[in-house]
Amino acid sequence: MAGVVADPKRHLLASGHTACAGCGQAIAARIVANAAGPKTIISNATGCLEVFTTKAPQSAWRVAWIHSLFENAAAVASGIEAALRYLGRIDEVKVIAQGGDGGTADIGMGALSGMLERGHGILYVCYDNEAYMNTGVQRSGLTPLDSNTTTSPVGKRSHGNPRPKKPLLEIAVAHNIPYAASASVAYPADIERKVKKALEYKGPKFLQIHVPCPLGWRHDPSLTVEIARLAVETGLYPLVEYENGKVVSVRKVKVKPVEEYLKLQGRFRHLLKEPEVLEEVRKVAQANIEKYGLAI
């Protein structure tokens, strides 16, 4: 299977870490590391990924890896990249910065923007599981409309998160970077291809990967890949690829109703009883379908 090295002993994110069963981020992070290869240095933001892979004295990483803080993975990576340039090793070593949706689109937004604007040769990967999962499912800027989180709870006066997702991919693209794309853990070969393609470009690259969180989304751990695929097939998570500001590829889908995606997840269950609210979510999907021409 694409993105998966045949011999598990050669995985650059080794097994034996402490991620939950069905963790989408753990799968995606392994595909990213394997696709980048051993000549890579990773700067990792604080979050689940850092916690479940590096409880001292153990580490699951077989590549050079550093964790500093929540909001500064892009800035730490900028320093690594600058050091490699100084050492004359920039053509030989790849630099990846990675974090979750909160660490990227909220608290780390300034550092990310700075990294993109300065033109560092870094691939930034955002593992988007649509809330602050490490701290217990609080709402982030990438939490979707009407999602029920612990800080956007459903109640008499609330349908859940009142705002749609921040357009992070478009914000990255607006920095005039050579490559930006969205991906999904449901499509490992696509992730692998995008990582490899991104790393061929000089300058800053951005990749946002949709990764279900069974605990936070409240779904059966065996459904991670299926749910991720339904997000794409309903139009709620379009997979697109930008090169130099232009859309160069879109994953076309035979569009399915959003209910098929929503009904499998506890965070959206309330919507199925509220047709008017459900209509708002349908509009989000429809807007994506029209914007990118997703429908086959």
């Binding site: 550093i66 500064n72 690594i80 600058a82």
Partner: protein
């Protein structure tokens, strides 16, 4: 080589001679001339380094963290709010044992916004695991940066170091200094050879999660290393003094304290003013002296006690406060003297906050008031009219 130079440009010149590979900074008054100087040296091809202009001090500190972790000598400079914005990263740099060197052009903190000198900024990060030096004059500022790199990068230490230089008073003043030659600095400061670094050929993980079963030992290790740093700072200062043929650095400077009954304790440029007043009062036969603390972290307890043990009255004069408690340097000096069973009465004087001028007359006043046992921190130089309003 003797030259007449602005403090900030002197810092830029000595940093360039230390050959950092990555410099990152965000502009804040009064730090700007230092990093402008370095940017120009790089632009002119006189320094081979990457200069990373970042979007915040938080990122400036993070960039040098990442570059240092990759095994390259690094430098950053900031002031005041910038240092406070860096604070989170500063603790992280120390916890990761990275030998980053930072100049803090010391400035007051907001509110009210104030761009002038005091020591409240770097005092707030005194517990972060950074070595802290304070310079009395531009010459000392130059020398302390070289010593800072030497000690920070020493494999026995591997901790970051901050050099505090008084904003405007030193950054924007001109002074005749002895600027060491590049080969002198290079011979003293060999290329960085870090304990661990990020290298794909030998992949290591840095910055792991430290659960309750390991965290406390990491803090203990830094505390013990800080104690070791006292010896290493002395050693480095002596070695560098040999190189430049002047006595430089060290932990403290005891000025005319041998038979002194009254000794003031201070840090930074303020010491120069106190020395003048000491000379003047000595001429009148008064037994007075001043103890300059050069190395504030690690806190050189033995040297401070040695200098103060014979005094009857000790006055700690500082450009910092701990709002709601005794001022920081006073607390530490008083605690030390109490523990050692010294006889001296210790009093606390807060001066010069937000750049308020400190005059020789105020120092004379402090030498008089140091005998009074008021027990509370005293603010010297307050405008009573403003207080009534």
């Amino acid at each position: 080589m003797k030259k007449f130079v602005e403090g900030s440009h002197a810092i830029a010149e000595i940093i360039a001679k230390c050959r950092p590979g990555v410099i990152s900074a965000y502009p804040i008054t009064p730090q700007t001339h230092i990093v402008e100087g370095l940017a120009k040296l790089i632009a002119d091809g006189e320094l081979d380094a990457e200069f990373i202009n970042v979007e915040s001090e938080h990122s400036a500190a993070s960039v040098v963290l990442g570059a240092s972790a990759t095994g390259v000598r690094v430098y950053t400079a900031t002031s005041s709010q910038g240092l406070l914005l860096m604070a989170e990263v500063l603790f992280n740099i120390a916890g990761m044992r990275l030998p980053v060197v930072l100049t803090c052009a010391n400035r007051a903190v907001s509110a009210p916004i104030n761009i002038w000198n005091d020591h409240q900024d770097s005092m707030t990060v005194r517990d972060s695991g950074w070595i802290q030096f304070y310079a009395e004059n531009i010459q000392e500022a130059i020398d302390l940066h070289v010593i800072a790199y030497k000690v920070a990068e020493d494999k026995r230490i591997s901790l970051p170091a901050l050099v505090g230089i008084d904003g405007y008073v030193l950054t924007h003043a001109f002074e005749v200094v002895d600027m060491p030659e590049e080969d002198q600095v290079q011979s003293f400061l060999p290329p960085l050879d870090p304990v661990v670094k990020l290298d794909p050929d030998d992949p290591k993980s840095m910055g792991l999660l430290g659960a309750p079963d390991v965290y406390m030992e990491t803090r203990y290790a830094i505390a013990k290393t800080m104690e070791d740093a006292l010896g290493v700072i002395k050693e480095a200062s002596e070695a560098y003094s040999q190189v430049v043929g002047r006595k430089v650095g060290g932990l403290v400077e005891a000025y005319r304290v041998e038979d002194a009954e009254k000794v003031l304790v201070a840090m930074g440029s303020l010491v120069g003013t106190i020395k003048d007043v000491v000379d003047e009062l000595r001429e009148k036969g008064e037994k007075v002296g001043v103890l300059k603390i050069i190395t504030y972290r690690p806190f050189p307890k033995d040297e401070i006690y040695e200098a103060l043990k014979g005094a009857k009255y000790v006055g700690v004069v500082e450009k910092a406060v701990s709002l709601g408690a005794d001022s920081p340097l006073f607390s530490e000096v008083a605690s030390l003297l109490y523990k050692k069973g010294a006889d001296a009465k210790v009093n606390s004087f807060t001066v010069g906050l937000g750049g308020r001028d400190i005059s020789p007359a105020q120092i004379r006043q402090i030498f008089q008031e140091v005998e009074k046992d008021e027990g509370e921190s005293r603010f010297i130089g307050l405008n009573e009219k403003l207080l009534e309003a």
